[in-house]
């Protein structure tokens, strides 16, 4: 595995399977009396969150602590960054504190790349602008594998599993990472969205594209709903929330048209009633709650594989 996890494209099929299988093994930790392993004792993981995200930050914090690492939380509000400190200066401060790994969430695409040039430790991208969110894709892949393959999960990829990702792909880092990772693992990915919410060159991506959600539903093993920001309406991406919901929202009627075994996913937070109806979110098909637990396990696997072994020699990037 490479020194940083910045894009899902950094992971080969072998790397991705190693992470998922390691997570499979670590999942049983939650059932033990002592939910802790000594593996990262003495290592420091810094959570560098410039964007508010309690959920993801807590997930990384829990993952690091269960491996006995020390965790330092840095959030942008009320910090030196709010006073105008640059990303570079923040990075240099972390270096001086001896961070072994920095988990960064930032509103600018490419922030994780830039940070990786300024720190010696490992950088884990927890979401940079509209670019990528690789650990989200990993926990999504893990969830799909567990739900659809059950006992046969260990060691297997997602070959032949049909995943439909629905919504604002253009602005979604979750979509980008998932398209890359799921296709690396052998899944067949289809994007369903209005043309205005798809990037211009999406035909070069390793997936199919459809403007019609209803045709895709009966052929989907997994439906992944993306959050739609209602502010996109004022920038003329779609005429109204009502029309968006009518054409691309997953309601109970659409859910009924899915194959029996199909599951419904959402990275959260949800706009109940916009892209996903309440009864869908709360149904047994929905993996939304277990995605949270799986997030801790997958992030433990990532931190272990990045930090649990040899110190990486200085590599030219």
């Amino acid at each position: 595995m490479k020194r940083h996890l910045i894009s899902a494209a950094d992971l080969s099929r072998g790397d991705a399977l190693l992470i998922l299988d390691t997570a499979e093994e670590l999942a049983s930790l939650a059932d033990r009396p002592i939910k802790k392993l000594p593996t990262l004792r003495g290592r420091t993981v810094v959570n560098l969150f410039f964007e508010d995200s309690t959920r993801t930050r807590i997930s990384f914090e829990a993952a690091a602590k269960r491996l006995s690492a020390d965790v330092i939380n840095f959030s942008a509000k009320g910090s030196s960054v709010a006073k105008g400190e640059s990303l570079k200066d923040t990075a240099l401060t972390l270096e001086a504190m001896g961070a072994d790994a920095v988990v960064i969430r930032h509103s600018a695409s490419g922030a994780a790349h830039r940070l990786a040039g300024w720190v010696r430790g490992s950088v884990v991208n927890a979401g940079d602008g509209t670019h990528e969110h690789p650990t989200q894709a990993l926990l999504d892949a893990f969830t799909i594998r567990r739900r659809l393959k059950a006992a046969a999960a260990r060691g297997s990829g997602l070959d032949g599993i049909r995943v439909t990702i629905v919504g604002d792909v253009l602005h979604s880092r979750v979509a980008r990472s998932n398209v890359l990772l799921l296709s690396t693992l052998g899944a067949e990915v289809t994007l369903a969205a209005p043309p205005t919410l798809l990037p211009l060159a999406v035909d070069t991506w390793p997936c199919a594209v459809s403007y019609d959600l209803d045709t895709e539903l009966p052929k989907s093993d997994v439906v992944m709903m993306l959050r739609v920001q209602t502010e996109r309406m004022t920038a003329a991406y779609f005429p109204s929330v009502r029309e968006y919901s009518r054409r691309y929202g997953l309601d109970a009627a659409r859910m009924a048209r899915l194959p029996d075994h199909a599951i419904v996913m959402h990275p959260g937070p949800m706009n109940r009633g916009v892209e996903i109806a309440a009864e869908v979110a709360d149904s047994t098909r929905s993996t939304i709650v277990e995605q949270v637990a799986n997030g801790v396990t997958t992030r433990m696997a990532v931190l272990y594989l990045l930090l649990g072994g040899t110190e990486f020699p200085e590599v030219a990037r």
Partner: protein
């Protein structure tokens, strides 16, 4: 001692135990376990991956044959507790599979193929402590090759095999390697 002296197909090196000798050693260990634990009362066998696991299963099967007793059997991966993690890239984990009856108050017999420095067993003891509180922990190994670096000893030994640190001991088991044998080769590598 008595090395049989004929080379094993597919490996250079000397076979020091053949399939028949391995079978007899495991039978003897199974009997010894039954003796020392008053008939296998409260015993749990935990194999250390990779080859400790089929060995534990074979022991459980023999105990079942001799006493009609079903001994709970599982595996205990020690990777996360190793003391040499920082010297190699992070390794893939083996399976930890505890029997449903757990380990609290049990006599856990750790099973491994080769006992050498003792560090793997030390890691296993740490891993075990986080899983519960056994009444006692014992150790069964197929081969003890000496050169302990920690104060660790085995309770049950299939074969004592004095070796030099330049030698490498390979345990081959049908479940993993399609044949049963213990082979020593001189690969000139220090341990």
């Amino acid at each position: 001692m008595g090395a049989t002296g004929h080379p094993v197909a597919g490996r250079d090196g000397l076979a020091v135990l053949d399939a028949e000798e391995i079978r007899r050693a495991l039978t003897r260990i199974a009997h010894e376990i039954l003796e020392r634990t008053h008939g296998g009362d409260g015993v749990v066998l935990l194999g250390i991956p990779t080859r400790g696991v089929p060995l534990a299963r074979r022991l459980a099967a023999r105990i079942g044959e001799f006493e009609g007793l079903e001994v709970p059997c599982g595996s205990l991966d020690v990777t996360m507790h190793r003391d040499d993690l920082r010297f190699r890239p992070a390794r893939a984990l083996g399976r930890t599979d505890l029997p449903r009856s757990g380990v609290d108050g049990k006599t856990v017999v750790l099973v491994d193929d080769v006992l050498y420095s003792g560090r793997t067993v030390r890691a296993a003891l740490d891993a075990l402590t986080d899983l519960g509180r056994p009444r006692a922990v014992q150790l069964a190994v197929l081969v003890d090759r000496g050169h302990r670096e920690l104060p660790i000893r085995a309770d049950y030994v299939g074969k004592n095999l004095p070796t030099s640190q330049r030698e490498v001991v390979h345990v081959l088991l049908a479940e993993v390697d399609a044949q049963d044998a213990v082979v020593i080769s001189d690969e000139g590598r220090p341990s």
